[in-house]
Amino acid sequence: MSKNEQQHELLMQLKVENQKLLEFKKLNNLMLKTLKAFTNNKEQSTPFRSLFELIAQELKPDVQLLITCNHENDGFFIVSSTDEMLIGRHFQLDDTVNSKPEQSIFSQSTVFFNLNLTPKWPASLKGLLPNAASALIQPVKIASRCYAIVLVINEVNGFDAEAKSVMSNYSSFIASTLTLMEYRHVAAERDTLFAQQKRIEQSMARQGKLAAIGQLAAGVAHELNNPLGFIYSNLNTFELYLKDINTFIMEVCNSHPDSIKLYNKHNLDFILKDSGELISESLEGARRARDIIKNLRNFSHPDENTISTINILELIADTVRIANTHVRKNAKIKISHDLNHAFTQGNATQLSQVILNLINNAQHAIEHQYGLIEISINKFNNWINVEIEDNGCGIDDADIPHIFEPFFTTKEIGQGTGLGLSISRAIIEQHNGCIALVHTGLKGTKFVISLPESNHVRDD
């Protein structure tokens, strides 16, 4: 073979290789641009759009779809598309041709040179893409899901074998990139879980402390109860004695008028009157101390399995009394109702815990010194509604969907367990009731608890 001819021969081979290299150049361009798009784009909702733009530059399809199979109904869902109208649309496989999504035309790399010749192109997709004449389908499989990219051209013979080869090679890259993104997502979830785990551990530690404090409180309450008993008893006796002393002095003054001077000199009129008030106030103080001790004992010895008929009005009054000890720093609690009683069947400790959680949350939302927490109770049909409203800073819109999720909290780690509202909802639902956020905003937040009224006692 002459040298000239050898060179020509080589040229021919290089020409064929050049065609393939052009194909790889397309692929490389796609991959490079994809890498840039994926690494620069931090929002995970947009990579598919970037992908479409890149594919459009190289293969010039009229419409692009990213679909995924919906195993619940053996159909497909359009995740993304260059045609906005198609996003979110569903389509089914034709029963007579395709059996299952994983064995359908969307599960293998395919070029349809003329869609009118194939019965495999689903009629429902034909309805969505009435002008489609040729199509290239490329499945993209990642660990968690199966996707397929569908490219459509509105003329027959729109795609050649090279386009299929480019997409086929590109799909592995897309899958790898998507998997990488998924790993990132998993890593973020792992961090969230670590934070939750930390909160749980702190919550458990705090519960341990609370249990210890509860036991201590029970002991202190028991010990205080005895001295308080004789203080209360002695004050009562002393009140009776004072009445007798008062009677005696009056009788002496009546029988010996000279003694009145002495009576006035020592200001006995004021002393006797003030003594009665002092005893009265001391007795009131002792009664309040007795109530606090009683509530402490109730909290320290929770009767969690005890179901009884509860007067919600009394339960709220008792709970507010406890809550007031820390709420009064920056807020007042106002209770309003026009009911004589509101009975429900349930566990008093648990329901009290719910009211206390809501009051605590309300107090945390109040960042000024003019806090007001209003608790209003009413009845409607056979339901008791307890509305708890504050004038705090409200809940962010983004947080609203998550407030009843376990471990969701807007507080710093260590400041809240994120369990309050989720436990509250669980308790209320166990009582066949419901709890809901009525409204929230910059002027405050309102929650409502609805509990079924106990059948055997009615107001009217």
């Binding site: 073979m1 000239n4 395919t110 070029v111 040179f113 495999k120």
Partner: protein, 395 residues
């Protein structure tokens, strides 16, 4: 994907039938592509249990004999078969008796039927394999092009006989076809690569076709075509050719149709078959008015080397592009070239064997070659050589 190669002696129909029975598998192959001389194809068509070997067949008569990686002691009556077992792939075959008048329409219909048979209607296959009787090649490719464009490679060989007496034939597993074609569509689960080229050198002698009709070349540069052709031969110190059949004498000096692609020149060969008294020439492929023809030159060494080079290139590309090693191959070698180097034919087989290593292959000597040229267009040419390599899965 599993490909089995058989090289059966088809001299005695009874013994041949026994061979057929002995190579049966539990299930028939998706497709069988075969080459053999006329007797071998006819014996195949008369054998029983053929459809148990493969559900679809493209068996093409080869000039004198067929070849494979198994060397034969004699050069006659052998049937070379490749059986494709590919449960993950799809294959379909359709055939038609046809004529020059209806070939375009017939090939479109047959391609549609083949796609239906593969259960892939409307889908682009990885390869179209064709076999046709001489004269129908351009029409067949036109029909295919009208349906699927140039978007899929089309390869194949024109059926041949031993003496251009018109006894060529094809067999599709059901019927024998003498004037018509068979089309197979292949959707294999593994990669395919190919190369299509000639074994000839260009010369500085060129002319423009000023009159032509189909395969009849009337004038070159407004002079009788045979006169121009013989002038070129004289200038190359070759004897001129007399009127009458010239197929054998013109084998080393065919005409090259110059195809320009981005200023790059490629040549598709057209083999002179007959010189008429009026100075016109009958060729083995169509030429068109306005086309540039060049006088080509070849020799035994070039042709013998060529099959090895083409096969090596196709196999190397398969590895480079798809990271896939050859599983089996088909090599098409022009019957005209084979007749010109007849005594050295075994060297062609050995060259292919050397290029492929221990990979099984089959080949046929055909009266026309179809393939995808370097510019991505499927064409029919003469005196061409092609290699189609089926690769292992690259996963």
């Amino acid at each position: 994907m599993k490909i089995l190669r058989h090289f059966l002696n088809a001299t005695d129909p009874c013994v041949f039938q026994q061979y057929i029975g002995s190579i049966k598998q539990d299930k028939p192959a998706n497709l069988a592509i075969a080459f053999g001389n006329i007797d071998a194809i006819l014996h195949l068509s008369q054998a029983t249990e053929i459809t148990q070997l493969a559900t679809s067949w493209v068996a093409t008569s080869s000039c004198i004999t067929a070849f494979s990686d198994i060397g034969a002691e004699d050069n006659q009556n052998h049937l070379a078969i490749l059986q494709f077992y590919d449960p993950q792939g799809s294959y379909g075959v359709a055939s038609k008796q046809s004529s020059i008048d209806s070939i375009i329409e017939d090939s479109q219909q047959a391609l549609t039927l083949a796609l239906n048979a593969a259960n892939r209607p409307g889908e682009l296959p990885a390869l179209i394999w064709c076999s046709q009787s001489p004269g129908l090649e351009e029409g067949l490719l036109t029909g295919i092009r009208q349906l699927v464009g140039n978007n899929v490679p089309v390869f194949g060989g024109t059926s041949a006989d031993n003496d251009v007496s018109g006894h060529w034939c094809m067999f599709d597993g059901q019927q024998t076809i003498t004037t018509g074609f068979i089309i197979a569509v292949l959707f294999p689960s593994t990669p395919i690569n190919y190369f299509f080229s000639s074994g000839y050198e260009t010369t500085r002698h060129t002319a423009i076709v000023t009159s032509a009709s189909g395969r009849k070349l009337n004038t070159l540069n407004h002079q009788p075509a045979a006169s121009v052709y013989n002038q070129w031969r004289t200038m190359m110190a070759l004897p001129t050719l007399a009127n009458g059949p010239v197929l054998a004498q013109s084998t080393f000096n065919p005409l090259g149709r110059v195809i320009l692609d981005n200023d790059e020149q490629m040549t598709l060969l057209s083999h002179p078959a007959f010189i008429y008294e009026d100075g016109t020439m009958e060729l083995f492929s169509e030429v068109y008015q306005g086309e540039q023809l060049t006088f080509m030159h070849g020799n035994q060494t070039l042709l013998i080397q060529r099959a090895q080079t083409v096969t090596h290139f196709a196999a190397q590309q398969l590895l480079d592009l798809y990271d896939s090693k050859p599983l089996a191959a088909i090599v098409i070698f022009c019957a005209g070239c084979m007749l010109a180097i007849k005594d050295e034919t075994n060297q062609v087989r050995q060259g292919v064997e050397q290029a492929l290593g221990n990979v099984p292959f089959i080949g046929g000597f055909t009266f026309g070659e179809q393939g995808r040229f370097a510019d991505g267009v499927n064409r029919h040419g003469n005196l061409m050589i092609s290699a189609i390599i089926f690769g292992h899965s690259n996963e």
